[in-house]
Amino acid sequence: MKIRVTIIFFLSTFLFTVKAQDHLSIQFDYADNLFNSKQYYDAITEYKRLQFFDSTKIFNYEINYKIGECYKAGSKYDDAVQYFSLAEMNARTDDESYDSKTQIIRTNILRRTTDRALQLCDELEKDQRYSGKSDQINYWRGWALILADNWEAAAKSFAKINSNHELKKLAEQTEKAKVSVTFAKVISYILPGSGAIYSGKFLSGLMSLGWNLLSGYWTVNSFMEDRVFDGVVVAELVWLRFYRGAIQNAEEFAIEKNLEVSNKSLRYLQNEYKGIKP
């Protein structure tokens, strides 16, 4: 009997409280729908509306987090970081705090403020509350290094998660496919055009070598015929020009080749990689 009365009493109070909370949740759902349909600007408006009318501040964490996500989706990273920081301040649990911090790291990765992203990863790692999350932290550290074009360090970071990690293999392959810029320059000092050939630009390398040989011949020929002025002019305006050009091109082509290799991997990550991205 008493049990029945108690049950009826609690059922009626439950009905009361469900009705009272509806309007805030409805507004939150509305804002979420706008977010899911990629209307980020309008979603921010509705999240802000909810924040204004939510006198108890129960949605504060979620609102700031979602606004941060909206700004991140619009590539407005400074604002995104600001709101994720606010979400972190309003976090009620360690998990919520961790999620906010991770979003700040991911936003810094996209903004290519790599040093800041790595610093935040280090801070997270030192935090005893997240001692079980080292794999995730290393994952984002690896991503930060990838977008900073530091594939070697990125491979090491992914290796800490798993020695057969997909991104570790990708980073190692990318690093291996690159050419040495210093080597290209050095061999061009010795044989003009060889650096370009080393970087895969065969025609340019051969033409460069040809110009150097031709202008070298003209210079030597001029001096041998006692045409000193002509020799100096040809040496300065032609031979030296093409010799310097060969060294410059060796460096540029090596950098360009490395850029192509990096961008191929970055395109794969952008379009085909199925894992979590920043």
């Binding site: 009997m1 029945r4 009365v5 009826i8 009493f9 009626s12 009905l15 009361f16 009705k19 009272a20 509806d22 309007h23 507004q27 408006t45 802000k48 509306r49 909810l50 204004f52 009318f53």
Partner: protein, 294 residues
């Protein structure tokens, strides 16, 4: 005992059957009061956004509010929101709506003139002020000052110096006199003079403009190639003689053209620097306009 319990139980159910709908009804009422999209709530939210300088969102809220309730302060805030984000045409249109029958009429007229000014439509500004169109008795001095300021920003002939200066405070008189003199008597260089000087002496035109390095380079290049042409012709090297003659003509003609072009660029740079300096001066003083907001 059992009967008493049964009666109490039935009484409780009856009471609950009445109370739950009532509380639900009250909740529904309070839920309706928490309708975030009601005009009143839209206004509250709009004001919050306005104070937060989120003007575009505030404008959207005010626009919807004004569809159901007319309030001249909100019309002013709507217009001011557009003004703050640089949508001066919309600001002007909304300010015009306050000209008659509103306590904010004078302020709206002032801000209308400001909207026209910041659209860089200085001609309309002057015509309106001269014709006393949308005249404001309270802000007549400010609007007239704005009209005089507009002369610094376009190519119109400035008015009399004294007529212009009397509208501004003493503390800025000397700076304004300086600007006025620069506007009326700019320190331009003549492209024709530069070209003639370069024709007589290669590089002289560039030196006249102040580009000493370019002038000396022109002189050396022209002189050297001419010398080489002469010596090669004297040594009966026809091909080289003509080659260096061609180069000499190339450098000589380029130097004349370049002198005239450089004079034009010099004059344009003077204008550009003047415009930049004047704009900064007036911006730092808010164009001598009062801060108006509601």
């Amino acid at each position: 005992m059992i009967l008493k319990t049964k009666i109490a139980y039935r009484f409780l159910i009856t009471v609950l059957l009445f109370i739950v709908p009532l509380t639900t009804h009250n909740c529904q009422l309070s839920a309706n009061n928490q309708n975030f999209f009601s005009p009143h709530n839209r206004l509250q939210f709009g004001n919050y956004l306005y104070k937060d300088k989120d003007y575009l969102r505030a404008a959207d809220e005010f626009k919807v509010y004004l569809k159901s309730v007319y309030n001249d302060t909100i019309v002013f805030r709507l217009a001011n929101s557009y003004f703050k984000i640089g949508r001066y045409t919309e600001a002007a249109d909304n300010f015009k709506g306050l000209f008659f029958g509103s306590q904010l009429s004078e302020e709206a007229r002032l801000l209308l003139y400001e909207s026209i000014f910041f659209q860089n439509d200085y001609k309309s500004l002057r015509e309106n002020d001269k014709g006393k169109i949308y005249y404001s008795s309270k802000y007549a001095n400010e609007i007239e000052r704005l009209r005089f300021i507009s002369y610094f920003f376009d190519n119109s002939a400035p008015p009399d110096e004294n007529a212009l200066l009397k509208n501004f405070p003493d503390s800025v008189q000397s700076q304004l006199i300086n600007f006025y003199q620069q506007k009326k008597y700019p320190q331009h260089k003549s492209p024709t003079t530069a070209a003639i000087l370069s024709t007589l002496i290669p590089g002289a035109g560039k030196i006249y403009i102040g580009e000493i390095g370019d002038g000396i380079t022109s002189l050396i290049a022209t002189a050297l190639t001419t010398y080489l042409a002469i010596t090669n012709f004297n040594a009966d090297h026809q091909f080289r003689g003509w080659l260096f003659s061609g180069l000499a003509a190339f450098f000589y003609a380029g130097n004349i053209y370049g002198a005239a072009a450089s004079a034009q660029i010099y004059n344009a740079r003077i204008q550009f620097n003047f415009d930049k300096e004047v704009k900064l001066f007036f911006e730092q003083r808010n164009y001598f306009l009062p801060k108006v907001d509601y």
